[in-house]
């Protein structure tokens, strides 16, 4: 049974006004694209139901339904302009910041529709963190990049030194920076900056982490480090990654969703989708025949 995630609700929202849904039941009528055996087997952390998105008159997502499984890595792949980044940003309402953006449909976190009234957006984005395409550390020291979020959220400063180490260790960066925490974050390499951004995202204790092309600006060695980091992170977090790089999706994810022209074409375990895709168009895309 779902329990209302109180932290998501704005102060004025009464708990009894929000009734969490059974997320598994949402996919009973979606078995054509969402394999029933997966829905039965894995715990669902987030559920997207018939999500459509417009930028002005431009219809970029059409009726997407997709489960996001707990403590797993889900990759979103598809050709440019297929709507995968829009989809990712809909998962923590980042698109709300775009005036011409309009959304229809539902996105559930722990059974609560994050698009319903009474949702505290700051809490939502705290719970669903995001790492962007290009490393974007704050123009401050390595240490302050980590402590910035916790301080804003009112943490007792006595805990900060322990937290700095803990999040840098989790982001596989501690060994490389522990003796220069006061240096500017810009003194780090691109790969290190991206891991710092991941540590910064972890510092506000999210439950889901969204990665938007996290390695597109990195060399293969730095990419491998981030990929291994994502593999380790899934033990504690639920991860969704958007990537242009199909090989990366294959390497790093447990489940893959293939989008084309704003529609979800196929969703399956990464093993099955990359070896025996069900739809012809998926086969053509992953084997490099189009896109």
């Amino acid at each position: 049974m779902n329990i209302v995630n109180k932290k998501l609700l704005a102060k004025e929202t009464k708990e009894e006004d929000i009734v969490p849904v059974d997320m598994r039941a949402l996919f009973k009528d979606e078995t054509e694209i969402i394999p029933e055996k997966l829905v039965k087997k894995y715990e669902i952390r987030m559920a997207v139901k018939k999500l459509s998105h417009w930028y002005g008159n431009n219809h970029v997502l059409s009726g997407i339904s997709l489960p996001i499984f707990k403590n797993k890595v889900t990759a979103i792949i598809g050709p440019s302009g297929c709507g995968k980044s829009t989809f990712l940003r809909d998962l923590n309402r980042m698109n709300d910041l775009i005036k011409i953006s309009r959304v229809r449909g539902k996105v559930y976190l722990d059974g609560i529709n994050i698009y319903s009234e009474g949702i505290d957006l700051i809490q939502l984005r705290k719970k669903i963190g995001m790492v962007f395409q290009k490393p974007n550390p704050f123009p401050m020291s390595i240490r302050d990049n980590i402590t910035y979020g916790p301080i804003i959220h009112g943490i007792n400063k006595a805990y900060l030194p322990g937290l700095i180490k803990s999040y840098l260790v989790k982001a596989a960066l501690w060994d490389e920076v522990h003796d220069r925490l006061s240096e500017s974050a810009f003194s780090l390499s691109g790969g290190q900056q991206q891991r710092l951004c991941i540590a910064r995202a972890l510092s506000i204790e999210p439950e889901v982490i969204l990665f938007d092309e996290p390695c597109s600006a990195l060399d293969p060695h730095a990419t491998a480090k981030i990929e291994d980091l994502i593999t380790k992170l899934k033990a504690e977090y639920t991860v969704v990654i958007v990537t242009h790089n199909m090989q990366q999706a294959a390497r790093v994810s447990d489940f893959t969703a293939f989008f084309n022209l704003g529609e979800l074409i196929e969703f399956n375990s990464t093993r099955d989708l990359f070896r025996s895709p069900i739809r012809k168009i998926t086969e053509e895309y992953i084997s490099g025949r189009f896109g």
């Binding site: 294959a250 390497r251 070896r275």
Partner: protein, 225 residues
């Protein structure tokens, strides 16, 4: 980090997949070695019941072979391995076939007991079993070398193979001589000829596995002839 992981490059996920592949390969190998040993036992003890038990294991062999194949497919499709990792994966697919065929050879060896009266042919059976033990040891050593990517001495393996071939040839000569002397023993003799042929094949499979092991380690193709 365990031995398997140390010897592979790539990401954590790839290493996990290699652990999985090696685990299936290990289970398959253990099962087939057990079948080969039971095949020898069936020869010594004239135990037809053992033949049935060995034959029953073929289903498990098929299943484990598919699991190896499944892991190979995943590692190639998802991780695009290079160099020695790529060679290891491709060669795993090839040696799985050798292991699979050795399992069938073990079944045939055990089946040979049907027409041979062990008690009346002790001396010949003893030599067949000795040949079988050699082949079995070669088989075990070859797979161990493959799984641990050991460097192997091709000259030593050529000698081992030659020794099995000469013991095999001598046994065939003696069995034929006995058939010529006692024509009524022809059926039993033929069974023994076949048994020795299957045993010699197991040694051949071991040599093929060694060739793949050398390819994985050195990227050079060599032939044990």
């Amino acid at each position: 980090m365990n031995e398997t992981r140390k010897s592979f490059g790539g990401t954590i996920r790839f290493k996990e997949l290699m652990d999985e592949l090696n685990s299936y390969l290990g289970k398959l190998t253990d099962l087939v070695i057990e079948m080969i040993e039971k095949g020898h036992k069936a020869l010594i003890e004239d135990d037809e019941g053992l033949f049935k038990k060995i034959e029953e294991n073929l289903c498990k062999v098929h299943e484990l072979s598919y699991q190896v194949e499944d892991s190979v497919q995943s590692s190639l499709a998802l991780h695009q391995p290079f160099a020695s990792d790529l060679r290891y994966i491709l060669s795993t697919l090839k040696i799985t076939n050798e292991i699979h065929r050795s399992a069938h050879d073990a079944v045939h060896i055990a089946n040979s007991t049907t027409y041979v009266d062990i008690a009346l042919n002790k001396e010949l059976i003893k030599r067949v079993v000795e040949l079988a033990k050699r082949a079995s040891l070669m088989f075990e050593k070859s797979i161990d070398a493959f799984r641990h990517r050991k460097e192997l001495d091709i000259t030593e393996w050529k000698k081992l193979d030659d020794r099995v071939d000469s013991l095999h040839a001598k046994l065939i000569d003696d069995i034929i001589a006995k058939i010529q002397k006692e024509p009524s023993w022809a059926r039993a003799g033929m069974s023994l000829v076949l048994a020795t042929r299957y045993i010699e094949r197991i040694a051949d499979h071991a040599c093929n596995i060694v060739e793949e092991s050398i390819f994985v380690v050195t990227s050079k193709r060599v032939k044990i002839e």
